[in-house]
Amino acid sequence: MNRPVEQWASMVPVDDYAPTAFLDVRDLRIHFPTDDGLVKSVDGLSFTLERGRTLGIVGESGSGKSVTSLGILGLHKGQHARVSGQVWLDGEELVAASPEHVRRLRGKKMAMIFQDPLSALHPFYSIGDQIVEAYRVHNEVSKKQARTHAIDMLGRVGIPRPSERVDDYPHQFSGGMRQRAMIAMALSCDPELLIADEPTTALDVTVQAQILDLVRDLQAEFNSAVMIITHDLGVVAELADDILVMYAGKAVEQGSAREVFTAAEHPYTWGLLSSMPRLDRDRQDRLVPIAGSPPSLINVPEGCAFHPRCRFCELSAPLSLTEVPVMTETTPGHGVACHLEPAQRRRLWTEEVQPLL
């Protein structure tokens, strides 16, 4: 049952040059040589994403989620990173493309919004200026036209009195409004791919919901592909059509949101779900955390990277200690990288994990 291929969705082999999805990431590896050793932040990641759909990438800090998104945008070029693999965006391969070419796509075809809008926006320039700049670098328009467009975008993201606020500075906005402004800036050139890196982590809960609504509305309006990166399963539950769970630079589970939430098959995912407080269940005595801490990306554990923390490690020993598990399809559209037998996993899920959720 274990296929030697590492491709998801259409299961197309790696060396086939014809991508079918809008965003097609194949065996992406991003390594950073440092004085302490080679940091393997992303180590063989593959997934796809279509326009109009939302992919949620979930994982702990250090799992490689942000590095992945920066890697897709090509922001690691010139930073001493070793990037290999392929990233196909709308039929174009980006990893081997020239940095100049990728730069021109950045902001225009693919855009990103960041976690902390206060530090991510330049404090010295007004919001209007920054949006105008983002717009004019990709479109030949006059300043006046760009300004009109900026005001328009601010209105669209729900900022009241946009023609007055366009000349305000980032520090003059509240947290929520600031994030909306950043979204306005990211969407100013109508990107087809929007990557949101922890967009609500810095905001309070009520504002969170508003922002997520906004993203969903805009996605519907522009038909963009959205990648949302977070450690918060609640956010993912709200927004994502598909979920990708990352651990130690690799994908460990992929599937539709419904599948992953109701029929998760990877012990790590089980751990994530267990550690999430839920309102629709009885209150437990305590939350169940995942034992241990994230692994070093320089000295990744042998075999299955999760094995030191896995409750069920002995059940798949000695394989989990020696061989890296490969992503395999269990049910249609649902892949898992684990050495446990599928039947074993489902049993464990229904018997041991699910009741406690």
Binding site: F114, A134, Y169
Partner: protein, 336 residues
Amino acid sequence: MAAFIVRRLLAAVILLVVVSMMTFAIFFLVPKLAGMNSDQMALRYVGRGATAESIQATKERLHLDDPLPVQYGRFVQGIVVGDEFNYGPEVVKCPPPCFGYSFRNSQPVTALLIDRIPVTASLAFGAAILWLVGGVSIGVLSALRRGSVFDRAAMSTALAGVSLPIYFTGLLSLALFAYHWKLWPNGVNYVPFTTNPLDWAYNLILPWVTLAFLYAALYARLTRASMLETMNEDYIRTARAKGLPERTVVVKHGMRASLTPILTIFGLDVGLLLGGAVLTESTFSLPGLGQLVVDAVFGNDLPIVLGVVMVASVFVILANLVVDVLYAALDPRVRL
């Protein structure tokens, strides 16, 4: 903004008063504490053939016996209303602002100051432009090429520049460029800008470069550190994510933010220099405020010391003011 400036100007006046009082106090009280009386102070200004009469006459002429508040009052009066001076056969009016007359050679201090400010200003501004452009560009390049040969070479040179005293580099450059290679066959002699701009610049090149070398080194190191910090900021990553060309990212986003602290220090440095670049002026024999005040201090010439201290204080206060206003203009988070 206007209210802010007005408040600062008021504070400036108070500060000037305090500084002048302290200068008076130091000049008169310190010798008193050391056991000097006014006769002995008067002896400083009389030739070797001092007689009791000339000592007494000098004391009266210089008002050395008057109580301090009276002397101070006369000083303030001079600045506000003007003063009179007895040259001997006639009495001359000194229009406000009158800083008095040199104890040593009876020259009007105000005229001296006016004469020397352009020299110090020429030196300070010329060197300032050189070191700002040179130091900042080297600092930025070093930061962008961190760890490279250029970076290491630049920072080593900067270390040398910061460590070598001006007196040394000045004399060395004079010996080498002026006298040995005869690029400046007549040495360095200040020529006013109004007399001949080319000569003015020609004579100031060596002092400019010597002074700028020291500061450029400082600024290169500062800029490098500031740039490195700034380029790690999140908004730089955002700028790149927007697809901006790297040049725009570095210049418009990076430098704008990293240079703000540099500019404030620059303003203060120039303000201080305008009070007299003492070492440079002495080494190159430039007749500026620095040379003037050093001689006045050694020669116990209070009116000149007071005058230069006042002028220097005004420059520093103005520089602080300009810097604060500039900072507010550059960084919208700082509002006055």
